[in-house]
Structure formats: structure tokens, C-alpha cells
């Protein structure tokens, strides 16, 4: 292999995971990690949690310190996005004009924000929350605002709403679907989450669309809903989702379908180009159709699989997906993939402080969603990994020890 080595395009959670794993596995050639943003790679989840609440500073947000990259001989290129790839010449071009050779290329470009496309959407005071710069802008806007409207009832919108409410703002959350977390959690969990926010004083407009951002001197002054209602506000936080960032992959003709398609080793339709994290779509043994995940677990573990493939190790990517979100002091944890399940049963009391929802598809356990029940969550991950399904009646029986459903 030449000096070019592995070039990793994108320095988020997946990119850092690939680089670190290659060094742990004693990869001998160069490892280069390229990022569009300035500075060292940082963690995203705290942007809507500890960092937004002002509990963490920038140093604490980092994924690894500067010494780590030096000691491990990982070359960092920051604030210089890749603008084009030439697969036949095995080279890529950076915005600065520099070009770089690669033996193997890893795409870890993550997600692209969905932008609000209504009149007034570019006014001052309309903010998003995907990177550190945006979190910084939101933090400073929060300080002078009294009222906030959050658009979008997914994890980012809800975590943002919690931080805003805790900071003492009057918060109203508008969601197009009539349920929160519509694409990502069961109804008992969605309803629990809504009640928790209502107890904190967050108001909801569910099943409503935003029609216009009202402005005064190009600053936000209100949000008009399609039903005519106007919510006066000083700040609008938009969390209406993300899409896999496939721009560069598509530009060189890699197979994509709302995600860069990769096989179970993490290889794209080009044998020397691999991909990991939010930007991918792949087949998983737990699910009948190709899936796309937006989670730290997937970024880190798919990154590990890609590094293993680059080292010539056999095996497939079959790690059990899991996800967490903080809602105030409560922990929401999800293990598995709840797509297309046909039965939900509840362990514990869905109106109390702690319970889990067990989701089955054709009597097979496919996912478990837990509120403040970390042991259920951990056991669920072990059950799913082992392919074991406790009977639904057992799952709901508090006397039943979930551990006993594990193969011995």
C-alpha cells in the first residue's frame, strides 16, 4: 500500500471512530481525518443537553484531546471541506484548492439539516441546532429572549424545549404530526414525554403546521400557524429533521437511496470507498428492509466495522442499535428497531416514573423503549443480541426476571 493510506471524509462520531480503530488495530499507513468545521472533532449530543444548559464548556465537548491525535499519528484537516472526489485517480479536492490522494476513502459526512421553507424563515432569531456554532447562537439568543417557539417534536426539538423551559422561557412547541416523536417512539413513550414537558410549563400545538415567521426589522416577532393562530415570540428553534448527506457520493455515481448504500462490511458500490454513520443505509439482521439510523451507537459501531473491513477482518455489522435521549432528569432509552412491529406490551406503569414498552413483530421481540428503567434497557440489548424473545405475558409480569429469557 502507498503512503496515501486511508482518508476519512467527515470528522464527526463515525469519522473519529474509524480513525481511532485503525490505530488500535495497528494500521501501518497514513490516516487523515477531514472536517468542514474549525477546531478539533467534538461530541454532538451535549449540544442540546449539557452544553446548551451551560453546564459544559468547549473543552469538555471535545471527542478526544489534541494529544490523542498527535500520539496516534492521525492527521487532522479542519475548516477545509472536500468539494470533489475523483474515484478513478483516487484523489479528492479540498475547498482550499489542495488535492489529496487516497488508497481507501471513508465517507462519514453525517446528516444535512432540513431547512424551514416558509416566508420569514431566514429572519434573525430563527435558529437550528446541529453544530457547535448553532448551539452557541442559540445559547446567546436564549439569554435575551423571554418566549420561544420550537418547531418540530422530535428528539432535538424536545431536548431544546427542555433547555429553554429550564432557562425560564415561555415555550410553545408546534408539531405537524398529532403525536410527538412520531417516527421514533411508541405512543406510551410519546405521551409520557408530552406530560413531562407539560409539567414543566411547555405548551403544545400538535397536528399544526407553521405558515409564516412574522418579523419586525427582520427579527422574529411571531409564528403564524396554518389555522390562523399567531404565537408571539422572540426566538424560533427549528428541529424538523435531517437527511443523510449524500451529495458527494451521488456526484461520483455511488449507489444511494436516501443514504449511501453500504453492504454489511460497510463498503459502498465502489470497492475502495466505504461509509459509516448517519450518511448510510444498510441491511441489518434485525430488520427486513434496509435501514438508516441517526445515533451515536451506529456512528461509532459502524465506524468500527469499517475499520475492521479495512484491516481485512471478516464479519458483518450486526450490533444491536440503541439510542438515548435526556428529557429533563428522565432517561429515555431505546434498544432495537421498532419499524413495523405489530404488538406493544408494557412492563411497569406507563403513568408512573418508570416503565418499558416491549415491541414485537410476529411474536419476535424487535425493540424495547424504556423510561427511567436502565436495567430493562441493558437486558433488552442482551436479549436482542441473543435473538431471544420473552413471551409478552412474561415481559409484562414484574415478577418475571428478564434475565431468565436469555439463553444460558
Amino acid at each position: 500500500m502507498s503512503e496515501a493510506g486511508v482518508v476519512i471524509l467527515g470528522n464527526g462520531h463515525a469519522g473519529v471512530s474509524v480513525a481511532e480503530q485503525l490505530r488500535r488495530k495497528k494500521y501501518q499507513s497514513a490516516v487523515t481525518l477531514i472536517g468542514a468545521e474549525a477546531g478539533l472533532p467534538y461530541q454532538r449530543p451535549p449540544l442540546s443537553k449539557q452544553y446548551l444548559k451551560g453546564e459544559w464548556d468547549e473543552a469538555r465537548l471535545l471527542q478526544r484531546n489534541a494529544e490523542f491525535y498527535r500520539n496516534n499519528d492521525i492527521r487532522l484537516i479542519a475548516a477545509d471541506p472536500v468539494i470533489s472526489i475523483d474515484p478513478s485517480a483516487h484523489r479528492l479536492e479540498l475547498k482550499s484548492g489542495a488535492t489529496l490522494p487516497w488508497d481507501k476513502l471513508v465517507l462519514a459526512t453525517g446528516s444535512r439539516l432540513q431547512k424551514l421553507e416558509i416566508p420569514g424563515a431566514d429572519a434573525e432569531g430563527v435558529v437550528y441546532l446541529q453544530n457547535r456554532e448553532q448551539a452557541e447562537a442559540l445559547k446567546s439568543a436564549m439569554r435575551s429572549a423571554r418566549r420561544a417557539v420550537v418547531i418540530g417534536g422530535g428528539y432535538i426539538g424536545l431536548e431544546g424545549a427542555a433547555a429553554l423551559a429550564l432557562a425560564g422561557l415561555d415555550v410553545t412547541l408546534v408539531n405537524r404530526s398529532s403525536e410527538l416523536l412520531a417516527r421514533s417512539a411508541s405512543l406510551p413513550v410519546a405521551h409520557w414525554t408530552q406530560r413531562r414537558h407539560e409539567n414543566q410549563g411547555v405548551a403544545f400545538r400538535l397536528g399544526e403546521q407553521v405558515a409564516e415567521i412574522r418579523t419586525a426589522d427582520n427579527r422574529v416577532s411571531g409564528v403564524r400557524l396554518a389555522n390562523g393562530e399567531v404565537l408571539e415570540t422572540d426566538l424560533v428553534l427549528v428541529g424538523i429533521g435531517v437527511k443523510p448527506d449524500t451529495d458527494l457520493a451521488e456526484s461520483i455515481g455511488l449507489a444511494c437511496a436516501d443514504g449511501v448504500l453500504v453492504d454489511q462490511q460497510g463498503v459502498t458500490s465502489h470497492p475502495d470507498i466505504l461509509a459509516a454513520g448517519d450518511c448510510t443505509r444498510f441491511n441489518h439482521p434485525l430488520c427486513g428492509e434496509a435501514i438508516h439510523l441517526e445515533s451515536i451507537q451506529n456512528a461509532v459501531e459502524q465506524g468500527k466495522r469499517v475499520a475492521a473491513t479495512l484491516m481485512g477482518e471478516e464479519g458483518i455489522y450486526d450490533a444491536v442499535p440503541w439510542f438515548w435521549s435526556d428529557q429533563y432528569e428522565a432517561k429515555l432509552q431505546i434498544a432495537g428497531i421498532a419499524q413495523g412491529h405489530d404488538l406493544e406490551v408494557i412492563r411497569g406503569d406507563e403513568h408512573a416514573e418508570r416503565f418499558s414498552v416491549f415491541c414485537y413483530a410476529q411474536r419476535r421481540l424487535v425493540a424495547v423503549e424504556s423510561i427511567n428503567a436502565p436495567a430493562d434497557h441493558m437486558l433488552a440489548r442482551q436479549l436482542l443480541k441473543a435473538g431471544a424473545s420473552p413471551l409478552p405475558d412474561d415481559a409484562t409480569n414484574p415478577e418475571f426476571n428478564l434475565r431468565s429469557a436469555l439463553p444460558s
Binding site: 481511532e20 488500535r24 461530541q43 449530543p45 451535549p46 443537553k49 473543552a59 469538555r60 471535545l62 471527542q63 478526544r64 484531546n65 494529544e67 490523542f68 500520539n71 496516534n72 451515536i296 451507537q297 461509532v300 440503541w322 438515548w324 435526556d326 432517561k331 432509552q333 427511567n372 436502565p374 436495567a375 434497557h377 441493558m378 437486558l379 442482551q382
Partner: protein, 107 residues
């Protein structure tokens, strides 16, 4: 800064200097100490930052909460009397020189 010694699964010792107020997990994670996965970034939701604490220091730690206790029961490696989740332990000046052993496996 407080100096800590992490023992990686291979037996290698890694000296790490970390600010007071951070968690033990963060000190290990930012320095890329092998043997600590810390998949959830310190929310006490994954039990992949399980460590064994220096016996000399174990009584000086804040007692564990019920979440941590439950999670430790589900950790991948054997739970011992000196088992803790490193994300739940805030670094204090008096930890100077503490030795923290990582288990063979976290997942």
C-alpha cells in the same frame, strides 16, 4: 489538574491529567484510554465505562445512585465490590495518584 493512572485491558498504564469537576470517564475518553467505551457520553445509560477503583480510594467516592447500581448489574464484565461507572464519578483534587483498572470487556 489531577493526575490519574488508568490500567488498560492489556495491562499498560496510562497517566492522564484531568481537570477537577470532569468525570473519570471523560478523562479517559478524551485521552483515548483503551477499555472505556463510554458510548452514551456520560448519561449513565450504557454501562460501557465500567471500572474497578483503587481500594485505597473507594471510600472517598460519593456513594452510587440507584441508576448506577442497576446498570452495574448489567455490565459486561464481572461486578466486584470496587466496581463503579466512571461517568458517575466527579474528579476531585484528593484523587491525585488514583489507579483505575479497566475491565477486559465493556460490551
Amino acid at each position: 489538574m489531577v493526575n490519574l493512572i488508568f490500567v488498560e485491558p492489556s495491562g499498560a498504564e496510562r497517566e492522564v491529567a484531568a481537570p477537577e469537576g470532569w468525570s473519570l470517564m471523560e478523562a479517559a475518553f478524551q485521552n483515548g484510554v483503551d477499555g472505556i467505551e463510554a458510548e452514551c457520553g456520560g448519561s449513565c445509560t450504557c454501562a460501557t465505562c465500567h471500572v474497578y477503583i483503587d481500594e485505597k480510594f473507594i471510600d472517598r467516592l460519593e456513594p452510587m445512585g440507584s441508576n448506577e447500581d442497576e446498570m452495574l448489574d448489567c455490565a459486561a464484565a464481572e461486578r466486584r465490590d470496587n466496581s463503579r461507572l466512571s461517568c458517575q464519578i466527579e474528579i476531585k483534587a484528593e484523587f491525585e495518584g488514583m489507579v483505575i483498572q479497566t475491565p477486559d470487556t465493556q460490551i
